[in-house]
């Protein structure tokens, strides 16, 4: 570090200190404490028997069929939910780009799922939409002659149910971001392409998408980190069941910490979860940078 830079930091430090201290107390300390605690056999029922066990909790995690099931469920849920919400959000954003009568009202109605509290969204899907006898989904299926399943009472359909609920809640978020990004694409660029004989699909894939890729990747990153940590909607809808068919990592950690009180083991699962999220985030950032979208991340 040059002398000039050193002086620069020395001058800035007093101003940065309060924020740095606050960050250290509310973010860095808990993270390191979790990491530290994950090395202990620590049951809240017997806190005085806390014992250092090194990486034993991590070994136990990766040999536990229940944890591996949670990991598999979480990954499947995340990939499916993010992919569907990204695709649907983008398509919806394209549809509302063109002016039409009542466009403002449609935009407002479309974002309603996003402003509903997650607990209410979970209840809404569990009771009013997916309930086998009283729910709207099975009612509409019966209208076209299909007998709907007991959605949340069977492994596969319960998994599908929580994906649908997540997509319903978060598609409007993707739509809003994409809508704003599409507004930033100059109209004359698209018009030039149309004049050159490009089709709507070609313009969308070869001109519009590359121009908004940085924002799209940022949305993708945000969605992944949100969905990977999802708890409330799933807990309300299934509590992780039937059996453990929808027990995502956050519910696994919750059960381990607050039902079994195995704090060290729970912290190990939380750290593992944070590690996976970070890994996914790094991959998405690297891909974005390679695609030439570094502007968003470097600033």
């Amino acid at each position: 570090m040059s002398l000039k830079n050193h002086n620069h930091w020395a001058k800035a430090l007093p101003y940065l200190a309060p924020a740095l201290i606050a960050l250290a107390v509310i973010a860095v300390y808990p993270m390191f404490y979790s990491l530290f605690s994950s090395m202990f056999s620590w049951n809240l029922h017997q806190p005085h028997l806390r014992q250092f066990v090194g990486f034993r909790n991590y070994i136990d995690l990766f040999t536990s069929s229940r944890f591996l099931n949670s990991l598999q469920v979480t990954l499947g849920y995340s990939v499916l939910s993010v992919a569907l919400s990204m695709i649907l959000g983008f398509i919806t954003a394209l549809l509302i780009q063109k002016p039409f009568w009542g466009r403002g009202l449609v935009r407002t109605l479309l974002i309603i799922p996003l402003i509903i509290p997650p607990v209410v969204a979970g209840l809404l899907w569990r009771v009013f939409m997916l309930e086998p006898d009283l729910g709207l989904v099975n009612y509409f299926l019966s209208v076209i002659g299909i007998q709907g399943p007991a959605w949340l009472a069977q492994s596969r359909t319960a998994f599908l149910g929580i994906v649908i609920a997540d997509v319903w809640v978060y598609t409007p978020f993707v739509m809003m971001i994409m809508d704003a990004a599409l507004d930033g694409v100059p109209e004359n660029v698209r018009e030039s392409a149309f004049m050159d004989g490009a089709t709507y699909v070609q313009v969308t894939f070869y001109i519009v998408l590359p121009m908004i890729r940085a924002i799209a990747m940022f949305t993708l990153l945000f969605r992944f980190t949100t969905v990977f940590r999802m708890f409330d909607i799933i807990y309300i809808m299934t509590t992780g069941g039937p059996g453990f068919a929808t027990e995502v990592l956050s519910i696994f950690s919750y059960n381990t910490a607050l039902r079994m009180f195995r704090m060290g083991y729970a912290n190990a699962s939380v750290i593992t979860m944070a590690f996976i999220i970070s890994l996914i985030a790094i991959i998405i950032i690297k891909i974005t940078q390679r695609m030439g979208g570094s502007r968003v991340w470097d600033k």
Partner: protein, 443 residues
């Protein structure tokens, strides 16, 4: 000048010491007079508040009730007990924490206090007393506070209909009456299952933790258990197999979504007339005949849960819900704490007023009180069933510290049967292996 310099610090030190002595004495005096109760943030806790002034006037002991959510109370209590912080003098003891609290010496045994105060348990229903003992031991660790268990609820119009009785007898060869055995219950559930009419024979919640409640209580009903007194795992027994085979059959007579039913759904179905029978906690039984809350008001009867034919029991079995009040081993004022417990819960009249304020019923005299029965006409039918169920049906859940892992193994096993992934026999074998692994250190 030097002298002056020395006097000032000495005076300051003396003043500090004197203030510490005075403060310490006051703090000690205050500690002697106050009892802090760690309670759940529920109406039953708030219903105690009107009594506190009267108790303080009579005894000079001030009682403070801190209300917390279950998780917050558990964490505060466990961490406090481990560090001997001595914050609480009385704590709510959930069956889920009971084993850990007893095994780690976080609770005081109360036998001497019971004797000293002549605290009489005769009037209390059996289930509420069972919750105060640990694993069949002779030491009593708590005072009864809240207790509940399930009763059978059935549609009176269906059971009393002449045409239904005739059709049932023609099909099964015996009279349609309130079921006394699990086999009769299964026949009647089958008989009344008419999805085309929107009617199902039976319904019970099985979502999340309610899953083990269904699976384990049926094992108990058939005479099986998870482990014996030496913690040898015995869940994979002929009794358990019969229980889970019966339970699997019963799923055919329930609405398709029961594996995802929380507490509410079976009552909603029952009060809408979509179930012929269900099993529900006593407190829910109060609402199903309430005209303000039920389309079936006046049309729902109560009975004890039916017994399994070869179990040797007089009734079915179900888990006790609720909790008790104990005194932590680090309590600052254990004598004052029990004085309050005795004053509040050892007195029949006060227990009645507490119940009428929104408290819980754990005494037969409260269930049978004219004032209570006058609150609703259907309570005269419900309360005798409730008392019998709390005496004979209710069984304590596993309360050892590993209980949650054991119960999760049961959830895993029974779910695989409910989802059609395993037979009861293979699921029980798997469940036994998993529980044996969890309890291996106890051998």
């Amino acid at each position: 000048m030097n002298m002056k310099k020395k006097v000032l610090p000495i005076l300051l030190i003396l003043m500090f010491a004197a203030s510490m002595v005075v403060y310490g004495a006051r703090a000690q005096e205050e500690a002697r007079e106050e009892v802090v109760v760690g309670a759940l943030a529920r109406q039953i806790s708030s219903a105690l508040l009107p009594f506190l002034d009267e108790f303080e006037q009579e005894t000079g002991i001030r009682v403070t009730i801190e209300q917390h959510s279950a998780d917050a109370l558990h964490d505060k209590m466990m961490l406090g007990a481990a560090s001997k912080a001595g914050h609480f003098d009385i704590v709510y003891v959930s069956p889920s924490w009971f084993g850990a609290m007893v095994e780690n010496d976080y609770l005081l045994p109360l036998n001497d206090y019971y004797e000293k105060y002549n605290f009489d348990l005769d009037d209390f229903v059996g289930a509420s007393v069972d919750m105060c003992y640990y694993e069949g031991g002779s030491e009593i660790w708590a005072v009864p506070y809240v207790a509940d268990t399930k009763v059978l609820m059935y549609r009176i119009d269906l059971f009393e209909s002449a045409s239904e009785q005739q059709a049932f007898k023609a099909r099964y060869g015996y009279d349609l009456q309130v079921p006394e055995t699990t086999e009769q219950l299964r026949d009647m559930a089958e008989f009344f299952t008419r999805p085309d009419e929107g009617l199902y024979g039976y319904g019970a919640p099985m979502m999340g933790a309610l899953n083990w409640v269904w699976a384990l209580t049926k094992i108990w009903t058939y005479g099986g258990n998870i482990y014996d007194s030496d913690y040898n795992v015995i869940i994979n027994s002929p009794e358990s197999l019969k229980a889970w085979q019966w339970a699997e059959q019963m799923l055919s007579y329930m609405p398709a979504g029961v594996l995802a039913w929380e507490y509410g759904e079976h009552l909603t179905y029952m009060t809408q007339g979509r179930l012929a029978m269900t099993e529900g906690y006593y407190q829910f039984g109060v609402t199903v005949n309430d005209p303000d809350q039920s389309d079936m008001a006046g049309n729902i009867g109560y009975a004890v849960l039916p017994r399994a034919p070869e179990s040797g029991f007089a009734t079915g079995k179900h888990v006790i819900g609720g909790g008790s009040l104990g005194i932590p081993s680090d309590a600052q004022n254990p004598d004052a704490a029990f004085t309050f417990l005795n004053w509040m819960f050892g007195d029949k009249d006060r227990a009645l007023v507490w119940y009428l304020n929104g408290g819980a019923a754990t005494r037969s005299s409260v269930f049978e009180s004219e004032e209570v029965l006058a609150q609703a006409s259907w309570l005269e039918d419900l309360h005798p069933i409730a008392i019998r169920s709390l005496d004979e049906v209710a069984v304590s859940r596993p309360v050892i510290p590993e209980a949650y892992m054991v119960l999760d193994a049961i959830i895993d096993g029974w779910s695989s049967v409910g989802l059609g992934n395993q037979t009861p026999a293979s699921a029980l074998a798997q469940t036994e292996r998993e529980i044996a692994r969890i309890l291996a250190h106890r051998q």
